[in-house]
């Protein structure tokens, strides 16, 4: 909702979602590389539209003199399936179909959508969105040109073609493995969800783009008991990929990690409190970047002058070995997109280059405001929402240090390893992230696990305190979801091992 607008957050996707394949659904035999001379024809057919209809809807949208309009068609098919108490006892499916119509007048937005893709309904929605402008009508384009795109998530098998029986057997095998790992396990759950998202964006400048966006998430969780104490934890993968991602090795690792992460918590000590050095372990520690700098670099906040980073472009904000990017082109990574939801091709956007703040993440409105090219960051949750600048995969590039060197440098501090959620206040730059598990460092040595502690800091201050960056960057593996202005989008993040010289740790010790 609206009060979330300055309190943007990221969290690990809930484990409650799970799916099942719909046999013989709307789609059949579709390949995700669009073929032929008319690459968008498949999508026009899918949505039951043609050029003439689009032109008529656009004419309606521009009836009151809007500068620009776009139509965002979407059809998403989602399935989930869940194992709990040793049986695969629940499945869900969801179908989403509709078109969102946006009209821009300067930096003002009119938006409406319809779930009925008929000319009458679309024209009615277009007329509503057109109300943002007041002037004389403008003409719709005569032709549409398809944008040529790269494919960063090539797949071989549609999720539609994966039978539910196979999924049921997979979940049962994982469940058995969880209990085999450790006799202290008393409960286990496994969730499997997949989705296929088909989008078509067409705009009044004659631009047209299409995309097929697959997604998989699989998670295993368990509760273990020891001497009357209980702990719960999980492990998950989330990727834009097909069933071939789930190799025997990965399926074996899932229950193993889930149990290891859970039983480790029995040994955890009370986390310390106060300002101290914190080592961010390689991987999902990239949540630090997402909160400390990512949201503050989304150009809508800067265009409005309300971000802590609004006046810092080309200023030094970190050591010169710090380079941070937001990238939509990492193969099969959860936050990757071939094209953004405004039709701009995806790219790698450099936020910080060798310690200097470089580029905001733009949507169409902000790019025009700043007189720069869009960065392919205009994203939306669905056709029911207007696009805004959003992150994709945010990570820091490798630095000159070694992991062992970093640990040896810490007299007393913690390593943050696994995270559940983070949040930021854009204006002052204050942010937090919650450490589900980590370790204590004493006299340059890792001495034991810690758990459940919130870390709180200020974005620009913490960036300036990144004093060491290792050469071991990895991307997060799990299913992160970012929330902003009430809209959720899938993202990912990554980090090499990093030392922040001082930040507030919310423990008790």
């Amino acid at each position: 909702m609206l009060h979330m607008s300055r309190r943007d957050f990221v969290k690990i996707t809930g484990t409650g979602l799970a799916l099942a394949t719909l046999p013989g659904f709307i789609r059949s035999g579709f390949a995700n590389v669009v073929p032929g001379d008319n690459p968008y024809k498949f999508y026009f057919n899918r949505f039951g539209i043609d050029e003439d209809m689009v032109q008529k809807v656009m004419a309606e949208a521009l009836h009151y003199g809007g500068d620009y309009c776009d139509l965002f068609f979407q059809n998403q098919l989602s399935n989930s399936i869940r194992l709990q108490d040793n049986i695969v006892n629940s499945a869900s499916t969801n179908v989403t179909l509709g078109v969102g119509i946006r009209v821009l007048k300067g930096d003002q937005t009119g938006y409406s959508f319809t779930e009925d893709i008929s000319l009458v309904s679309m024209k009615a929605a277009a007329r509503t969105a057109a109300g943002i402008a007041s002037g004389s009508a403008k003409k719709a384009p005569q032709t549409f040109n398809s944008t040529k795109l790269m494919n960063y998530y090539d797949t071989q098998v549609s999720w539609e073609d994966v039978g539910i029986k196979d999924k049921v057997e997979m979940l049962q095998a994982i469940n058995e493995d969880i209990f085999k790992q450790d006799s202290r396990v008393i409960k286990a759950s496994v969730n499997f969800s997949d989705s296929e998202n088909y989008i078509l964006v067409v705009n009044s400048e004659g631009g047209l783009a299409t995309d097929y966006q697959p997604m998989l998430r699989i998670s295993a969780g368990c509760t273990a008991e020891e001497n009357g104490k209980r702990e719960n934890n999980y492990f998950d993968y989330s990727v834009r990929d097909d069933i071939n991602f789930l190799t025997p090795e990965r399926l074996k690792r899932l229950p193993k990690e889930a149990v290891a992460r859970t039983v480790k918590l029995f040994e955890a000590q009370t986390p310390p409190a106060g300002e101290m050095p914190v080592v961010l372990a390689a991987g999902s520690s990239g949540i630090l970047l997402h909160e400390a700098i990512g949201h503050g670099m989304e150009a809508d906040f800067n265009r409005q002058g309300i971000s802590v980073f609004s006046d810092m472009i080309n200023q030094k904000v970190a050591e010169e070995f710090v380079t941070i990017v937001d990238n939509g082109t990492n193969p099969h990574v959860r936050g990757s997109i071939n094209v953004d939801d405004e039709g701009h091709p995806s790219q790698e956007t450099v936020l910080v280059e060798n310690g200097v703040l470089r580029t905001f993440m733009h949507d169409r409105i902000s790019a025009k405001h700043y007189g720069v090219d869009p960065t392919g960051s205009g994203r939306r949750e669905s056709f029911k929402h207007y696009p805004m600048p959003r992150m994709r995969n945010t990570y820091m590039k490798n630095g000159p240090h070694k992991y062992a060197e970093i640990i040896a440098n810490v007299k007393y501090g913690i390593i943050a390893e696994q995270f559940t959620n983070g949040q930021v206040n854009i204006g002052p730059g204050d942010f937090t992230f919650y450490v589900k598990s980590g370790s204590l460092i004493e006299d340059g040595k890792v001495t034991g696990p810690i758990k459940d502690v919130n870390i709180i800091g200020n974005g620009p201050e913490v960036l300036s305190r990144v004093t060491m960056v290792a050469d071991d960057m990895v991307m997060a593996e799990g299913g992160w979801t970012c929330g902003k202005n009430g809209q959720s989008v899938p993202v990912s993040m990554g980090l090499p091992s990093v030392l922040v010289s001082s930040i507030t740790v919310g423990g008790r010790g």
């Binding site: 607008s5 309300i306 937090t432 919310g506």
Partner: protein, 440 residues
């Protein structure tokens, strides 16, 4: 969608599910319309209008269960959708605990009109929405030279849902919602731009807090964040602002649920009839407050809504027990989740409690953090004021509170007489002793 068309479609879906092999079914059909108007610095920033519909259905077939949703309500699409849903259910494993509620639980719905629908909503014009959003923001024009940007908005919606269960339940919910408010950014020290906001929601337009007051509160909350800094770690009393107290308590709602207990993920398992909080805490779940934001006639299972004591003088009276996890535990269902939670007020106002404190932190905002439902451990980001000798002496931010809910609830020493009525969780000001604050 017209009412009879919506309900008729529900009956059609129910019948079709039976024909296609479902033993039982439970479904909901919703139709909703909403309009939002956002202003920034005196200019329309975004106008959005939407009308949407959705159908969701739970299928019970041969001892198996699945649930499905779609927004494509054309009958030809729905028939295929239901057939697929029933087919798919057959591939799952049997679950003896998945069944529709005992119809006895449907009986006894309140006959009182909860008045959740404002008929006047249909009279609100596009111009009035624009005017309301604009004027709310304009209230703050020239109020403080440090203001960078003011965002204001007005949002309203109408939602109507029918619920049908194949063993006889029929339910209807219709409500309207109005929200307005403002967010303010100010130029702080260096590059910092502190922000504050206030939004109010009500079922009836006339119940919204006055627009000028709303805007001024947003400004005051922003000014309160100016110059905020952390202070050294310390254990001291925590005074929790009434509008912010729900942020601490909603985290114990999951541990109070039958699902958390059955899945062995609750630190409150086995605590019924035991003291889990100090005796100043009494919380009642009351679904029947006229125009209440959490008011309802029935819950997700169709169980008729009734009052339920949750905690009385610190003793845990009841859990939230839904039908499915109730079946698994062998417990009688109570309700699937909270409706309106009413904390019994104390004797003094928040201001009076504050004036009597020698040294404490008043928490006015949360920032992130989390709690472990299995162990009760929590670690939460906070901002607010350092209080010395009853006075707010320093604005603080970038600090955490940490501990275990078991201790925190027992250390509740006083509740105020000022419940925050603009929420479904009506919490007064609360004072806790011995809370760990970590800072510099």
């Amino acid at each position: 969608m017209e009412k009879n068309i919506q309900l008729d479609l529900g009956y059609w879906v129910q019948k079709k599910a039976k024909q296609l092999g479902a033993t039982e079914s439970a479904l909901g059909i919703n139709h909703a319309r909403s309009v939002s108007v956002d202003f920034r610095d005196g200019k329309v920033e975004k106008l959005k209008e939407s009308t949407q519909q959705a159908l969701w259905i739970e299928i019970f077939a041969k001892g198996r269960y699945s649930n499905h949703s779609t927004n494509d309500l054309r009958k030809e699409s729905l028939e295929k959708f239901i057939a697929n849903a029933v087919d798919l259910t057959g591939f799952l494993e049997k679950d003896e605990f998945r069944k529709l509620p005992d119809p006895e639980l449907y009986k006894g719905q309140s006959s009182v009109d909860l008045d959740l629908y404002d008929a006047k909503q249909s009279d609100v014009t596009a111009d009035e929405r624009l005017r309301r959003a604009k004027e709310l923001g304009e209230t703050l024009d020239g109020k403080d030279d440090r203001i960078i940007s003011i965002a204001s908005g007005f949002y309203d919606s109408h939602s109507e849902t029918y619920h049908l269960k194949s063993n006889g339940f029929e339910g209807h919910k219709e409500s309207t919602s109005f929200t307005h408010g403002a967010s303010v950014s100010m130029q702080g020290k260096g590059d910092k731009k502190p922000e504050g906001w206030r939004y109010y929601r009500a079922h009836h337009l006339e119940d919204l807090v006055d627009a000028e007051q709303t805007a001024l509160e947003a400004l005051e909350r922003t000014k309160a964040r100016m110059g905020a800094e952390k202070i050294p770690s310390e254990t001291m009393p925590l005074l929790l602002e009434n509008s912010n107290a729900a942020g601490l308590f909603w985290r114990i709602m999951y541990p109070l649920s039958a699902s958390a207990i059955q899945q062995k993920n609750s630190f409150l398992e086995g605590k019924q009839d035991q003291q889990i909080a100090s005796d100043v805490l009494t919380i009642l779940d009351n679904p029947s407050i006229i125009r209440g934001l959490g008011s309802r006639y029935y819950d997700g299972d169709g169980i008729a809504a009734k009052q339920m004591p949750l905690i009385t003088n610190g003793v845990l009276n009841n859990y939230f027990v839904d039908v499915y996890y109730g079946n698994k535990l062998g417990w009688k269902p109570t309700k699937g989740g909270a409706s309106n939670l009413i904390v019994k007020p104390g004797l003094r106002s928040g201001a009076e409690i504050e004036a009597g404190l020698d040294r404490a932190i008043l928490v006015t905002d949360w920032l992130g953090g989390n709690a472990n439902p299995t162990t009760g451990d929590y670690s939460l980001g906070v901002a607010g004021w350092l209080i010395e000798n009853g006075k707010r002496v320093k604005s603080i931010t970038e600090m955490n509170i940490s501990g275990n809910y078991t201790d925190l609830l027992m250390n509740l020493v006083e509740v105020g007489n000022d419940p925050w009525v603009h929420s479904s969780f009506r919490t007064p000001t609360m004072l806790f002793d011995k809370v760990n604050f970590s800072g510099s």
